[in-house]
Structures are given as C-alpha cells and as structure tokens.
C-alpha cells in the first residue's frame, strides 16, 4: 500500500518538455489512470515513479519517503508492461514462481504467496497446466497473478491492454477492476483510451502537453470538465463547442448562439468571448426550439442515431432516439438540457463558473 506524491516534477528531453512542473497527490489504495494523447507526458510520469527515468527537478515520495533518486528495485513497485508476456514453455505454477525465485524468497514463503494468489484468481485447477493449453481468459489471470505474487506497494501499468483486440480488452478491464476491489493496491495505469480509463479508474488524471489539466473522478471529468481540452477528450461523440454571439456577464441565465436564445445555469464568471459546451446526448431534436439548423449527416448505431446539424453558429452533433431520425437536408430545432450546459472562455479555454459547476470540487490536488 502506498501514497504517491509528486512535487514540482519536471522532465525535459532536449528542448522537448515531457512533464512540466507537475504536482500530484495520489491517495493510497486507489486505481489512478493517467489519460491523454500521445506526447502528453503520461508515460514519462509513470517511468519517473518507477525509477526508469529521473526528473530534471522535483521530488517523488512513496509513503512519505523521498524515492526520487532511488533505483527501480529499491522502490518496491511493480511495473507491468504487457499483461500477456508469459513463459510458454513453463506451466502456470512455474510462471508464478519465477519472479519470486528471482527475489530469493524462501520456499515456504513462495508456497504461501502462490496459494494466496491462486485463491484470489480462482486458478487452482490449472496450476499444472502449460500456458499453451490455456484459454485467453485463463492466461490473463495468470499474467495478473505474476504481478500480484510480488506484493509490491504499487502497480505501475503502461498501456498493458494496448495490443489486445477490442472484445478482449473489455473483459480484461472488468477483471482488473474486480481484482483491484479485492487487493486495494495503489495502481497507476497509463492509457490513451478513455473507455479503459472510465471503466477502471477511481481517479482520472487528464494530461496534455506535459501538464495535468484535471485530476478527478470519472463522473467529475465527464460532468465538470475544467477546460475545453478535457471536455473534448472525454466522451464520444465529443462535446459540441459553439461560439456565443455576445459577451457573458455574471448572473446571466440566457446566452445567444446563432441568433437563438439558450437557457443556461446562472453564470458566476463572465467573459467577452465565450464558448458554449454541450454533449450530443444532452440535446434533443425539438421543432419548437428557436435554435435551428439543417441536417447534414446521420449515422446509425442501432440503439440511437448520431445526427450532425449545421447551425448558424457551428456544426452540432445530436444523439437521437432510434425510432426517429430526420433525413439529411431537413431543418430541425435543437433543445439542449439547460442544466448540462457548460461555458468556457474562448481565449484561456477554462471553464467559467456557474451555479451548477460551483458545487463541484476536483477529487485530487494537483498543480
């Protein structure tokens, strides 16, 4: 078990800043996902926690102990690169024993740990089976087991599901999450895939260009994105951004987009140039609305349609129920759910506080 603190961590490779003066406080026993596009600094952050990279400046604490300059094996963390790398010529028990023999544990201790992990993962019947004869699901469990037997203070995982096909990845997510609920070992997991992040995480840390933009619960990043990058990165189809016609002042309950008046949560911040953000699933097609546009594209998903509507202000995507899809070329009205609308300052891309967003606090401290 471990609490991990990063203080003003900075890492540059030549003139490329991978991680910029980042502070982050990760709570003990949580499953934390570092999420962002390639080049955002998530893997570099993980590698510094593991000791595979050293920062240019800053400090890393593990349970209050400064480990910034320690070598990887002096940190008692387990780095999992690929959950599927098993030794094909060994049986399950030998695969599990392998990391423990390397640590020169006593035979009795090895036996005890293998028994514990066998119980957790329900792999008793296959202990003597060769890896090659196992189903995919059993292999996953064995691979996980090999990380667990070491009983590290924290698991560090770098895109461990990246090479699996989509169907398998979902199953693996469920398995990983269940396992975490049993073990409660602090886990830092790196991915660019928001579905993985949302399915696994207690806390999601969204990174972009070396900065932590938000460190929050999955619900927090979805409902209260602190800036336009997070808002656009989380959720598919992505949040719609629509420029406002006029400035926003504190206390407004209505804004103007493309000559239509839209009801919004009472504003607290103001901005001369603001953007309205609303998710496609929070807009209804409604002919009585004065916000109108022309349907330019429809996509069928079975459970629903995604309709793209060209309005005066911007192209807007709407999730429409499966029974009723307008045809391309039709003129439709758009009715966003007022309480789900967020506003951003166009220049800084930061969230403008409103009556609804004010109630929310980010789950983790960061800087």
């Amino acid at each position: 078990m471990a609490r991990i603190r990063l203080q003003n961590l900075h890492k540059a490779f030549g003139d490329f800043t991978a991680v910029r003066d980042t502070s982050l406080d990760l709570e003990d026993g949580r499953f934390v996902v570092l999420l962002g596009p390639s080049g955002c600094g998530k893997t570099t952050t993980l590698r510094m926690i593991a000791g595979l990279e050293y920062p240019n400046s800053g400090r890393i604490e593990l349970d209050g102990v400064d480990v910034t300059w320690r070598r990887p094996r002096e940190r008692d963390v387990a780095m999992v690169f690929q959950l599927f790398a098993l030794y094909g010529h060994m049986n399950v028990r030998e695969n599990l024993e392998f990391p423990l023999k390397n640590e020169r544990l006593t035979r009795a201790e090895i036996k005890r740990r293998i028994e514990a992990v066998t119980g957790i993962l329900r792999i008793e019947p296959i202990l003597n089976a060769r890896i090659g004869t196992l189903s995919g699901g059993d292999r996953q469990r064995v691979a996980l087991g090999r990380a667990i037997v070491r009983q590290p203070k924290a698991f560090l995982m770098d895109e461990p599901l990246g090479t699996l096909d989509a169907e398998f990845r979902e199953l693996m997510c469920v398995e990983l999450r269940r396992l975490h609920e049993r073990l409660r070992t602090t886990t830092v997991f790196v991915t660019h895939d928001q579905n993985e992040a949302m399915a696994l995480a207690d806390h999601v840390v969204v990174m972009h260009k070396g900065d932590v933009l938000q460190a929050d619960t999955p619900d927090g990043v979805y409902n209260f994105p602190q800036n336009m990058f997070v808002a656009g990165f989380i959720g598919r189809p992505a949040m719609n951004f629509v420029p406002l016609d006029t400035a926003v002042a504190p206390g407004h309950v209505e804004v103007q987009v493309g000559a239509a008046a839209i009801t919004v949560p009472r504003t607290i911040d103001g901005s001369a140039h603001a953007m309205l953000g609303v998710r496609p699933e929070h807009i209804r097609l409604d002919d009585t609305s004065s916000w109108r546009g022309r349907v330019v594209q429809t996509e069928y998903f079975g459970a629903h349609w995604v309709v793209t509507v060209e309005t005066l202000a911007a192209a807007v995507k709407v999730v429409a129920p499966k029974q009723s899809c307008p045809v391309p070329g039709a003129t439709v009205g758009l009715r966003p759910r007022a309480e789900r609308i967020v506003l951003f300052d166009k220049a800084t891309e930061r969230l403008l506080a409103s009556e609804t967003t004010r109630q929310h606090r980010e789950a983790l401290r960061h800087g």
Binding site: H192, D193, A303, E339
Partner: protein, 348 residues
C-alpha cells in the same frame, strides 16, 4: 465497379469449415459489411473473392461472369489490411503512386501525379506527400494504405478490419471518411469487421457470419430491429441485448417462447410493474446501468444525473411492444403484429 455473386461457396482447412455453403449477392456500388467474431470466416470469404484462396465448392462471379478459376490480377480487387503495409523507404507520394508504376499498368508520370494529388486531396493528406511513410501517425499511415488501394480504380475494394488498430478518435474520423469516399466513388466495398458500430454506421447491408455460415443479411436497421435469431440479436447492438427467461413474466407469452429479448435502450427504469433487481454498477458517463437478478445480468440505458450505488433495489420494465421472443433453440418467434411492424419499418 462490379457486382459480386457468391454461390454455395465452401472452403475447408483440415477439419474446419471456414466458409460453409455461402450465398451472397453484393450489388455494384454497395457498401457491404461482413460482421462476425474471429473464426467466423469473414477473412477467408474476402480471400476467396480476391482469388487468394481457391474454394472447395461453389462459385465466385463478378458482374455475372464466373471468375472462380481466374487469377487475382484478372479479378482486379484492391485489398486493405488491418496492419498497414507501407514501403518504409518511400515517401507518401511514392507509396500511393506505387501501384500505378507497376510494369503491368505503366502510367506516364504526369498522369501519376494527377491521380496521386486527387487521392491525397480526397484523404486530406496533401501536405504529407513529401514525408517518409515512417514519419506518419497511425491514422495517417492507414490513410495512405487506403490511398494506395483507391489510386488503382479496381473493380472491388476488399477491406479487412482497416480501422481496428487505430484509437477511438481516429476510428471515428476515418469511419466517416470511408463512407464519404465510397459514396463519392460509387465503389463496391466488401468490408470485414467484428465491430458492430462499424457495421451499423457504414453498411448499406450487413451480413452476420458465424462458424463459416451466414446467419442473416439485410440493412442494419432491419437486422437490428428484426433479428432472425438470438445469435444475430446478440451480435448487433452495444450494450448487448438483454435475454431473460420467459419464466420471469406473469402474463401470457407466445406458447413456445423460451427467451425474451429486450434492447437496453427500451428498458423502462423504475417501472412499478417491472422485474425487481439489484444494481451491480452504474456508469453516468456511459449512461449504462447493470443490474442483477437470479444470477443473470440486466442492462439498461438510463440518463440520470446522479450515480446509483451498487446494491440499490430497483425495478426494470420490459414493455411488451419492444419484446423479441425466441424459442429454446434461439430462433425468433414472430407474431403477426410483429411481422407487420417490421414491414412498416422497412418501408420507412
């Protein structure tokens, strides 16, 4: 562009029937999707069309002409694979131009340039033409691979999971693009995927395959709303359809109904007349509620503002109009009313 007819097509590998007595008609200019899990025979079907495999039985015809014995080159299909195979030492321009410069085709350089520029504009990679293919991102590489197929103007495009190695955002982007390009060119696409989202969003018609056999073929909306079998109902739709035992219902059901199917988006949340169950998990982000009753899982799409805690008791309604009934073999039971409705929805 060409139409395709597969008649009683069969291919075995040892004891495995990879493709089993397959009949398909694919129209000229159609975006046709083969959907199924791995091992369904999708890729083998593509390879039989291309002439990369020889069938044990049956016939492949293009534009009504039997090509079963014809060489791949004579059939003139363009193949795009999941793993983009580009020439790493060549620029994007030369990669796209490569098929045009083949000794079989011999195109003069002015014509090559015209064609490459046209394709690059179509795929939005005009500014990447001078780059080495290794300097591209995954999505750009796959665009180039598609570009290399498009430049040839083949009779049929065969695509084997071309988007599955890309991340979610790029997949979404290229999906829209592929559809647009196919419409623009009026090309015949045969597209293999295990991803039901690609199937419903891209296809004019989708064929669901399993273990080498065709389960159902039709327009995505038709197959989704009116599946012939439980297997097809489960293959299309995410989150997956609920299938619950008919014993859960007190009212009268069709006599041989063994299973009742209900799409998660049709489940009514907090229906007093519904079945009692316990929340397993609830994702506000995915709008998905997973609940448990008698060891079975139920999925419901719900738009709530606050998460429901695991263990909460709720009731979920299965409105009669939206139910799909299946017999003990998983075959669909269609009532007279159901069949009428299916016909109306098809007319729409």
């Amino acid at each position: 562009m060409a139409s395709l007819t597969l008649s009683a097509l069969g291919k075995r590998f040892g004891a495995v029937r990879a493709v089993d007595n397959l009949d398909l008609q694919i129209a000229d200019g159609e975006f046709f999707v083969l959907l199924g899990p791995s091992g369904a025979g999708k890729t083998t079907t593509l390879r039989l069309i291309a002439g990369l495999e020889t069938p044990d039985a049956g016939q492949v015809a293009m534009d009504g002409v039997d090509v079963t014995a014809a060489h791949p080159a004579q059939r003139d299909c363009a193949f795009v694979f999941q793993q983009y195979s580009l020439y790493p030492h060549l620029t994007v321009y030369d990669n796209i131009a490569f098929p045009l410069r083949s000794p079989l085709r011999r195109t003069d350089e002015a014509a090559v340039k015209r064609k490459v520029d046209e394709i690059a504009a179509l795929l939005h990679i005009e500014d990447k033409l001078g780059r080495k293919s290794t300097a591209l991102s995954g999505g750009e590489m796959q665009r180039v691979a598609i570009g290399r197929a498009l430049v040839r103007e083949p009779r049929v495009f065969l695509m084997d999971e071309p988007l599955s190695s890309l991340d979610a955002r790029l997949r979404e982007e290229l999906r829209v693009e592929l559809r647009r390009i196919q419409r623009r060119l009026g090309a015949t696409f045969v597209y293999v995927t295990h991803d039901q989202v690609e199937a419903t969003t891209l296809a004019d018609r989708v064929a669901t395959l399993e273990a080498g056999r065709l389960l159902q073929v039709g327009a995505p909306q038709r197959v989704y709303t009116d599946p012939d079998s439980m297997r097809v109902a489960q293959r299309l739709g995410s989150p997956a359809i609920n299938l619950v035992p008919s014993a859960w219902f007190d009212e009268r059901l069709p006599r041989t109904a063994h299973w009742v199917g209900m799409r998660p988006e049709d489940v009514v949340f907090n229906d007093p007349a519904g079945v009692r169950c316990r929340v397993l998990e609830h994702s506000l982000v995915k709008h998905l509620l997973v609940a448990e009753r008698e060891g079975g899982e139920l999925r419901a799409t719900v738009m709530l503002d606050h998460p429901l805690a695991a263990g909460t008791e709720i009731s979920l309604g299965f409105p009669a109009r939206q139910r799909l009934y299946f017999d003990s073999e998983g075959r669909r039971l269609r009532s007279a009313a159901g069949a009428r409705e299916a016909l109306t929805s098809e007319a729409v």
